[in-house]
Subunit: 424 residues, 2 copies
Amino acid sequence: MTQANKKHVSKYQDTHHKKFPVGTKGIWVDEKTEGKYSLINEEISLPAAVIKQQSIDNNLNWMQQFANHHSVKLSPHGKTTMTPAFFEQQLKAGAWGLTVATAPHAEVAAAAGAKHIMMANQLVGKANMAMIKRLLTQHDINFYCCVDSQANAEQLSEYFASSGVTVQVLIEFGVEGGRCGCRTPEQVVSLAQYIDALPGITLAGIEVYEGVIHGDNAEQAIRNFLATTVKTVEQLKENGLIHLDRPIVTGAGSAWYDVVAESFTDCQHLLAIIRPGCYLIHDTGIYQDAQNNVMARAQTNQGYACDLGGDLESALEVWAYVISRPEPGKAVIALGKRDVAFDAGLPIPERGYRDGKSIEVGGLQATAIMDQHTFVTVPEGRELHVGDVIAFSTSHPCLTFDKWKYICIADEEHQVTSVVETCF
Amino acid sequence: MTQANKKHVSKYQDTHHKKFPVGTKGIWVDEKTEGKYSLINEEISLPAAVIKQQSIDNNLNWMQQFANHHSVKLSPHGKTTMTPAFFEQQLKAGAWGLTVATAPHAEVAAAAGAKHIMMANQLVGKANMAMIKRLLTQHDINFYCCVDSQANAEQLSEYFASSGVTVQVLIEFGVEGGRCGCRTPEQVVSLAQYIDALPGITLAGIEVYEGVIHGDNAEQAIRNFLATTVKTVEQLKENGLIHLDRPIVTGAGSAWYDVVAESFTDCQHLLAIIRPGCYLIHDTGIYQDAQNNVMARAQTNQGYACDLGGDLESALEVWAYVISRPEPGKAVIALGKRDVAFDAGLPIPERGYRDGKSIEVGGLQATAIMDQHTFVTVPEGRELHVGDVIAFSTSHPCLTFDKWKYICIADEEHQVTSVVETCF
């Protein structure tokens, strides 16, 4: 292995602030003694990704209360933020553990202090298994990964049996036309029998991801699917194929967590776990739409979401400058695909500032995004100058987060009080 | 400022290899003494982003020769890779300087040793200006940024004049319906006169980005636009509005660099600079299409691209596992929007491996991508197992690069010989 990388790491970390490597976007330039950096007064380089701490606190508690009410465990999906500082806050607020998508993610979850780590995905490949073996031998954790094929069960068995470690697995149960997962309860039982005969691997329960079920009757289809899931877990337990006292049943992305929690609420003989991830950051796009559906269902079904009080809040903003007004109806913003999600709607102008004072941004609308630029239409009569600052809300927080090594944490006055590191 | 970030940096860097923080995707797990890590033999955790060094070398020299032949300077756009190791290779191969999109990018370019740094974008905002002031006072560099408004010229003048530093600017010249830039030569001259009267700011030339010109007669429209650009630079020089002996004229993204180089080749009284970026990595999608057009134009126009010999090669692959075969015609790959560009075509299966041996991947096609998964259709009769490895080529290299903190460098046997760090 050459020394090229090492050389760069050191070279690009010592010129600038000790804390941040050279070229870190969205941080302050001059160290202050006072400790807060005003976004409005341009003390942070823009574009910057900014989290409103108050909204995070709200969302953290809202979802934990929701899970507690239904007597299900909350294992937030960490893939959204991959931010250890937030993982720690989620665990502190009462999360049972953390859900992850990959072996490297699991390492981050363990380092953040999670004692239960669920990889809601298949663990495939020697190097990925080696990471998990290292985790299991170096940390006092319960780790679970998904399996949906004999081939993968064999690969896990071979690797872990020869390592002298046993890996706990969940059989993934899916639907025709969906993503991963056995397609029928019979396939689940058959795979469970197969696993039961293998060394180095032990079955802990069933994992589902109901988010791939669509259509006009999605809610009922999901309720039916979850009922089948619960029955199948019970059958596996009765058949002696799960050796835990309380077999695991787990589901729920960020769109149907209410239906999953309701479906699991009477399963106290099982360890029922929901895994929403985006709730912590939320948005003003696809997840706001999903949450509106949660609230609508709660009104129809006497669900708990309405009784709980309050609601999830969009916690993430991306702040950026107007850099050009080339034509009367057009503004160009220094914000691009390198900075913000664009696959589920473009960023939405929420507030504006000029020389530290609020300006009107009503009617501004993002119409196109390029690698480093966003086009915004400007209605006739609306003043918008080069140098004006716009705070945008976003849709699909995951794909904004993974564009940033550091995310600003701001208070209610839009002052940055700290910076957290992402681990993508 | 809290110590939260500092704590995380240290905590997440010491558990694992000293070189890599915990949770680093696409790297080896166990240190080897021999120094090479075989992708085919699964010694690297997948998914991994992999650069073929031989292709980088080819592309580096191809484009440098192309620029040299036309007597134009090459200032590669660094936004594509933001990888200092590649910046150094580009400079060593003869690049005049580096082009960047933001102030933080400029810091990385300077740290990589660039003596000429062109920000092909407007420099807006106090903190961004402060970064550039720091660069200008701490490094022996020539820095240029773009201006297309009196407002921005004033802001720059005010900031830099009060800092006792002079910033060199290029007036951006654009087209109606395009991105940034003055829309007419008259606006350019008027802005040049405005700048000439301001302290702390000095005009060095004109910058264009011809990539926003589309339509059936795009080539001729671009040639006309470039001719107007050259005339306007000459006029500014004649009018005493540019004080350099050789005013700068610069254009060229990765699609029309041939037309720009041809348009600038007789401008030896000017400092003519082209700024392609994607050529270094290239792809099998939109930039391959663009390069096919370059080659087609060379055949029609007796351009140099055909005479030069060879061609750009796609240097980037993303390697990933088949993790599920839930239905006969469907495979699920552990590769998602968090790992690879998806805005200009999905990743393309190029080669496959099973137990260290090649397998056939003809007919496999990516049909959908989610945050952590890609769906691939499998033709009837094609064997594809859970655990098989697929090497995908990609379209739009920029948006794959910014998903990775570390990129593997591989030799012709797909052995990883080193790892380079990105600075997004």
